[in-house]
């Protein structure tokens, strides 16, 4: 790598730090809020809590319905991840390796779908879901989230499979594998960083999704975490501290997971860039 001189280097470091601080802003602000005592919540200043407290976390974690929401979210997000990976990896294999002519079109449609605004789909889908009697079930969320997560996993996995040298597939065929055997025995193990990255993206999309979850769940039996946080108890006075604590408690496992597997996922998402 080329070394820049000191001044340029300092300039770039400043820029990168500024970006990180700016983008981390919302998350940090929320962490601060979750530690503020009730009385300081809606006052500004002070910006930092004068007496940091864990009261909000205690309140939230004692709440039965909060745990129920976490279970719902886990089930929905896991199902979405599983389906997206299973279907997406086979489809990505076909797109990357089998030389279909419509390849570009399928990927283009996948792109267009991930661009489609969810809000625009909510109201017409509401009618359909109601007519099918699927309101307030996990199934409707699993189906809808998969419809949006699948194109993303397809993208990630296709670029990953493309990076695997074609000669490996050919070698496996000559060594006695059928196309699917070659896929399962050689290509899939090699694509594991890509699978990890795709799984994380699908899981977190589903875990964080708010609009469909708000529209199609009506009771605690299927409500997921983001909706739960939005509808937190107390209709007239907004319990800002509890909300902040709940959302941090619910999202921190995901963030920790991301940072832990960061190296693996960075590998997965930049498969293209770093050649195996």
């Amino acid at each position: 790598m080329t070394q820049p001189d000191g001044l340029t280097r300092a300039g770039f470091l400043f820029l990168l730090s500024a970006i990180v601080i700016f983008c981390l802003g919302p998350a940090v602000w929320q962490a601060v809020t979750s530690l503020k005592p009730e009385t300081e919540l809606i006052r500004l200043p002070p910006i930092l809590p004068s007496h940091p407290t864990l009261d909000h976390y205690v309140t939230v974690l004692r709440d039965r319905s909060f745990l129920r929401m976490i279970v719902n979210s886990l089930i929905v997000a896991s199902a979405v991840t599983g389906i997206s990976l299973a279907v997406g990896s086979v489809a990505a294999f076909a797109l990357a390796w089998l030389g279909f002519k419509g390849k570009g079109i399928v990927l283009g449609i996948a792109l267009a779908i991930s661009m489609f605004p969810p809000i625009a789909a909510v109201s017409p889908l509401y009618l359909a879901v109601r007519a099918l009697g699927l309101r307030d079930t996990w199934w409707v969320l699993i189906a809808l989230h998969t419809a949006f997560a699948l194109p993303l996993t397809l993208w990630i996995l296709t670029s990953f499979f493309r990076e695997i040298p074609e000669e490996l597939y050919r070698a496996a065929r000559l060594d006695g594998c059928g196309p699917l055997q070659a896929f399962f025995k050689i290509l899939l193990p090699l694509a594991s960083p890509g699978l990890a990255a795709a799984a994380l993206v699908a899981f977190i999309f589903s875990w964080n999704e708010f609009l469909f979850a708000l529209t199609f769940t009506t009771t605690e039996s299927s409500r997921t975490v983001p909706v739960g946080i939005a509808l937190f108890p107390g209709l007239h006075e907004i319990p800002y501290g509890d909300i902040a604590a709940a959302s941090l408690a619910a999202t921190s496992p995901v963030i920790v997971l991301t940072l832990l597997f960061q190296r693996r996922i960075v590998e997965g998402l930049t498969a293209g860039a770093t050649k195996g």
């Binding site: 490996l168 070698a171 000559l174 060594d175 090699l190």
Partner: protein, 363 residues
């Protein structure tokens, strides 16, 4: 020990014709090399024989049995790839065992065969390692071993040495040749390197733009190139090819333009007796056949030394002859300097003539 026969084998991708009705027979137990510049269709030919691609037209026979409709699994051929194509997530042992496992052999048999092959190739200490921990030469051996372990009826080798450095390539080349002598299996080898083709093969086929140019023993191809392409491709440095016009008159000669003439004495003139006066031809002189003398009777072969390239064991020379440029080889002791003038001599039997239009060799 399989004879391979290609009949009018043709492959098109869209409008591009990669292979044009190639007829070729590889004898049983032969080391056969297909050589040509990149894009000549040699890798496609290998893929067709392996069953990785389907021919557009034509047929492939193994021992007189048509195989071109079979999948790669049914053909029982093994291939060594340019990139080696080792499975990166498996150890050397598992790489070697993979083809046998796919054939559902017993664990004991697999273990025995893998260890035998590893022993033969000096890979035993590397068995528990992964491909990325190996050196280039070791990877090359693992790739060979994976091909050998299941005793296929046919070996296909796709430029297997091209990723090795110069010295290792010389080593592996002779190892490969000895391996063939030990296994006595039919091997089809593909390369763009004419030196590899010459040194390794029982017979070679020269391919250019999907067309078979010449097929024969290396010595034959070198000594009697069928056409201009082969003459310019085989040999290092390549043959000097000079375009000129055939003139009769008091002294028969090839007129090379700008007052330069290559005089045709008795035998040479006889060889061109069927060639029309005034016809365009190409004169071919191999660099190693040119002998330089400092003075002597002027035969019209007075050349000026323009460049000396010392190669250690010999010297390459570049010479100006009229408007033409000649390359010659000389012993390392060669004593001369740029700008000097020499006469060159060549044995009559070592002068080649080619038809300038069609490219084929005359007589």
């Amino acid at each position: 020990m399989t004879e391979v026969r290609l009949e009018k084998l043709t492959k098109r991708f869209g409008a591009a014709e990669i292979l044009k009705a190639v007829d070729l027979t590889v004898h049983s137990g032969e080391f056969f090399t297909v050589v040509g510049p990149s894009g000549c269709g040699k890798s496609t030919l290998l893929n067709l024989v392996a069953g990785l691609e389907a021919p557009t037209a034509g047929a492939i026979y193994f021992d007189d049995r048509p195989v071109h409709l079979l999948g790669p699994r049914e053909r029982d051929v093994a291939m060594v790839f340019q990139s080696y194509a080792l499975y990166p997530h498996m150890t050397v042992y598992d790489n070697l065992a993979f083809p046998l496992r796919m054939k559902k052999r017993s664990a004991a048999e697999i273990d025995r065969k893998v260890r035998d092959v590893a022993e033969l190739l000096g890979l035993t200490p590397s068995l528990p390692r992964r491909p990325r921990e190996l050196s280039g030469g070791q990877r090359q051996r693992v790739a060979l071993g994976r091909a050998m372990v299941r005793q296929p009826r046919l070996f296909l080798l796709d430029e297997p040495l091209s990723n090795l450095d110069a010295q290792l390539r010389i080593e592996m080349r002779s190892e490969l040749k000895k391996l063939h002598q030990a296994l006595r299996a039919t091997m089809i080898y593909v390369t763009h390197d004419q030196a590899e083709a010459m040194t390794l093969s029982d017979r070679i086929a020269v391919l250019h733009r999907g067309d078979l140019q010449q097929c024969g023993k290396p010595k034959e191809v070198y000594e009697r190139p069928a056409n201009l392409f082969v003459a310019g491709f085989i040999g290092h440095p390549p043959m000097n090819l000079l375009r000129g016009t055939f003139r009769l008159g008091p002294e028969a000669a090839v007129d090379l333009g700008a007052g330069t003439r290559f005089g045709l004495a008795g035998v040479l003139r006889d060889r061109l007796r069927d060639f029309p006066e005034g016809g365009e031809l190409v004169l071919g002189l191999r660099p190693e056949h040119l002998r330089l003398r400092k003075s002597g009777k002027d035969l019209g072969r007075s050349v000026r030394l323009t460049l000396i390239e010392p190669m250690g064991s010999e010297v390459w020379l570049e010479l100006g002859w009229g408007d033409h440029r000649l390359r010659a080889k000389a012993p390392a002791e060669f004593d001369g300097s740029v700008g000097q003038t020499f006469e060159f001599e060549i044995d009559e039997s070592r002068v080649y003539f080619f038809n300038a239009d069609r490219g084929d060799r005359i007589s």
